[in-house]
């Protein structure tokens, strides 16, 4: 047993985080969703780092590491608020040629039981993958009756409304679809942990610098306790996400489905709560567009809905409790 990342793994995280902050600085993240703002060359550079093929074998053009390493990379991406269809690209890299290299940009969505469907990043995507119960289907975004929504909640995540999803071409079977949905949930949770850490760091910085009543506001216990709670939420949810990540590679060592569901409950709450705290700690400035606090919070809300809600995840854990007693 070893649930502590190695030096190499920490360096991988730092490398990804530094690259992302350099190539996707906060200024570009802020209006990334606006038409024409998706930076294809930066996306290709991110792909060239190996970002989308961490766990793909080298023979398939990947880096040949494991899923836990992919989880660690997505945590770093979440902390850096990296924009773009990161989870979609990681899931599609082994299925759709060109995605691994960053040449083909994918979007991914689950087929809803009824009605219209909201799809992230469809406006910049070359291909849309639809996760269904019988497998994964591929669609051409240009063939869809889709509207780019004018005011996406997260200014870095463009959102389109598709009135009706056609059937599309089946490119993977039901087992693959199920597994990719699980991985998608886990990678979004990994980004949520990074997000929780990132918003905490932003708030801590501000609390150290901002002075009121003649001293840094971070010296007041009221703020200290809020921020300590943020730290604790991050570390507890990080533990859950890492354990789930290791279980993808070692499914015999535990209950992977329960671990992924539990990780979503913890990471989703941590990011949303820490993001709220980050806005609150910034006071009036936190309510402005120019401070990054709202970017963390809004991204957290988006990621929280990816491949299953917190309610659904809590239900899954409850079911596993019931099953283990039966």
């Amino acid at each position: 047993m070893d649930l502590d990342p190695s030096e190499d793994q920490r360096e991988l995280q730092q490398m990804v985080r530094r690259f992302s902050l350099d190539r996707f600085p906060a200024d570009t993240v802020r209006d990334f969703a606006a038409p024409g703002h998706f930076d294809r060359s930066a996306w290709r550079e991110l792909a060239e780092l190996g970002t989308f093929g961490i766990a793909l074998p080298e023979s398939a053009g990947g880096v040949g590491l494991r899923w836990i390493d992919t989880v660690l990379v997505h945590e770093a991406l979440g902390a850096a608020l990296t924009p773009g269809p990161l989870v979609a690209a990681t899931l599609a890299a082994g299925l759709v040629p060109g995605v691994l290299e960053g040449e083909v940009v994918p979007a991914i969505v689950e087929r809803p039981t009824h009605g219209a469907v909201v799809v992230e990043h469809l406006s910049v995507a070359d291909v849309l993958l639809v996760i269904e119960t019988d497998g994964i289907r591929q669609l051409d975004p240009s063939s869809l009756d889709a509207t780019l929504l004018a005011e996406p909640t997260d200014p870095a995540t463009p959102v389109s409304l598709v009135r009706e999803l056609p059937l599309g071409e089946l490119i993977a079977n039901a087992d693959t679809a199920k597994h990719l949905r699980l991985l998608g949930s886990l990678l979004a949770s990994a980004q949520l942990v990074g997000n929780a850490e990132g918003s905490t760091a932003l708030a801590v910085n501000y609390a150290q610098e901002r002075e009121q009543f003649g001293r840094p506001i971070g010296s007041f216990q009221g703020l200290k306790h809020l921020l300590a709670d943020c730290y604790a939420r991050t570390e507890v949810s990080r533990s859950a996400v890492w354990a789930a990540g290791v279980l993808v590679d070692e499914p015999e060592a535990g209950d992977l489905h329960r671990a992924v569901a539990g990780a979503r409950v913890l990471a989703g709450r941590a990011a949303a709560e820490n993001g709220k705290t980050c806005v609150q700690v910034h006071g009036g400035m936190g309510f402005t567009w120019e401070v990054d606090a709202h970017l963390f919070l809004k991204r957290a809300w988006i990621l929280e809905t990816a491949f299953g809600s917190i309610d659904e995840a809590a239900e899954q854990v409850a079911e596993s409790l019931s099953a283990s007693l039966a």
Binding site: M1, A253, A314
Partner: protein, 395 residues
């Protein structure tokens, strides 16, 4: 990063599991929770069995009589013992988890020779005389006075929250030897034999209705200078040395116990009729329990992370605090859900309707013990804010 056992860990686990399966069947019936002499007797029997089998002091160094196992194997020991429903450390807690490790780090060879084996066999029971009515979170402000008189210290003062004092043989005692020095610089660590004249032990009834704790009144108690651990006025450092002995396993027994209680609550919810079905059919309640289970799973993963770091040299600063305050919150939340499941069966500590309802209420109240004992959650928040996040001190 791995979660599976290494070959040697798998072997350790298999041998231990086989031994435990057999050993627990030979235990006498557990005594009533209020029968302290009975509890001491029961815990000593179990500790003796562990000692004979080579499982006493699993995490203690081999040269001091322990097994010298890795932190991971210590975690496996605690995990398997809980799974086998073996007794927990019980009255041996202070000796095995704190006094023993302190003596290993700071005791003289004579003190080690006299005390360590008794702690491992279970024959010596220790209690902790640290907190005072005026020194809780601010432990270093303690005032129990020790005045040197020849080869003795003469000690007068009052201690509180002294678990197991009524059945203990020894007490690890913090006293003030220099009232003029800065508060951290005038404290000394002494071994107090509990049969020394001048000690009055008064049980302290808790909100759980049991006398887990005691108050200790010391009136001119003579303690030989030879019982001093470390130098005079160096007791604060001696006390904190033991913390580095902690490798992330401090709350494992409690965490597994809470996990068991949660499992029992799920079964209770599934058997308890409500409306047209059972309590378990309530979507809101079921999801809340699911979320609690997710939090307990996460704390178990956090434990493994801390133990992994401990095995590599030391836990990250703040991890222990983050774990403790999060754990306290989960116990409180679980207790809140227990009241919703129990409904009117929560009106007594007695088991009602043939179900083990009393245990759920007891565990609910335990949330306070977790969030207060050993440094309140608010103190843990301060530690994280100042030492991990680098926020300025208030004063």
């Amino acid at each position: 990063m791995h979660l599976r056992d290494s070959e040697s860990d798998a072997e350790f686990r298999a041998e231990l599991r086989a031994w435990l399966a057999d050993a627990v069947t030979t235990l006498p019936a557990p005594p009533d929770a209020t029968d302290w002499p009975g509890r001491r007797q029961f815990d000593t029997v179990w500790q003796n069995m562990l000692f004979e089998a080579g499982y006493a002091g699993v995490n203690w160094p081999a040269e001091y009589g322990g097994r010298g196992a890795t932190p991971t194997q210590h975690l496996i020991f605690l995990e398997e013992a809980a799974a086998a429903k073996a007794p927990d450390v019980g009255v041996g807690f202070v000796g095995q988890m704190h006094a023993g490790p302190t003596l290993i780090a700071e005791g003289t060879p004579e003190q080690q020779a006299h005390h360590l084996r008794g702690i491992l066999t279970g024959d010596h029971v220790w209690c902790q005389g640290f907190s005072e009515p005026g020194a809780g979170s601010d432990l270093a402000s303690l005032r129990t006075r020790a005045i040197r008189d020849g080869d003795d210290y003469v000690v007068t003062g009052q201690k509180i929250w002294t678990s197991h004092a009524m059945v203990a043989d020894y007490c690890e005692l913090l006293v003030r030897t220099d009232p003029d020095a800065a508060k951290h610089k005038g404290i000394t660590w002494l071994i107090l034999p509990m049969d020394t004249p001048g000690i009055d032990v008064r049980p302290l009834m808790t909100v759980q209705g049991s006398a887990e704790f005691a108050e200790l009144f010391l009136d001119e108690v003579r303690i030989p200078v030879a019982n001093r651990v470390g130098e005079e006025n160096d007791g604060w450092r001696v006390t904190n040395v033991t913390l580095s002995f902690e490798r992330g396993t401090g709350f494992v027994g409690e965490l597994l116990d809470t996990t068991n209680i949660m499992g029992e609550l799920v079964e209770l919810a599934q058997r308890t009729p409500r409306g047209a079905g059972t309590v378990w059919d309530d979507d809101g309640l079921r999801r809340d329990i699911g979320a609690i289970a997710a939090e307990l799973d996460a704390l178990w993963a956090f434990t493994k992370r801390n133990v992994s770091q401990g095995a590599k040299g030391g836990m990250a600063m703040g991890s222990g605090s983050a774990f403790k305050m999060s754990y306290a919150t989960v116990v409180h939340k679980l207790g809140d859900i227990a009241l919703r499941v129990l409904d009117r069966s929560s009106l007594a500590f007695d088991d009602i309707g043939g179900e083990s309802t009393g245990a759920q209420i007891h565990h609910k109240l335990k949330g306070f013990a977790v969030g207060i004992g050993g440094g309140t959650s608010q103190i843990q928040q301060n530690i994280i804010a100042e030492r991990v996040l680098g926020l300025p001190r208030e004063r």
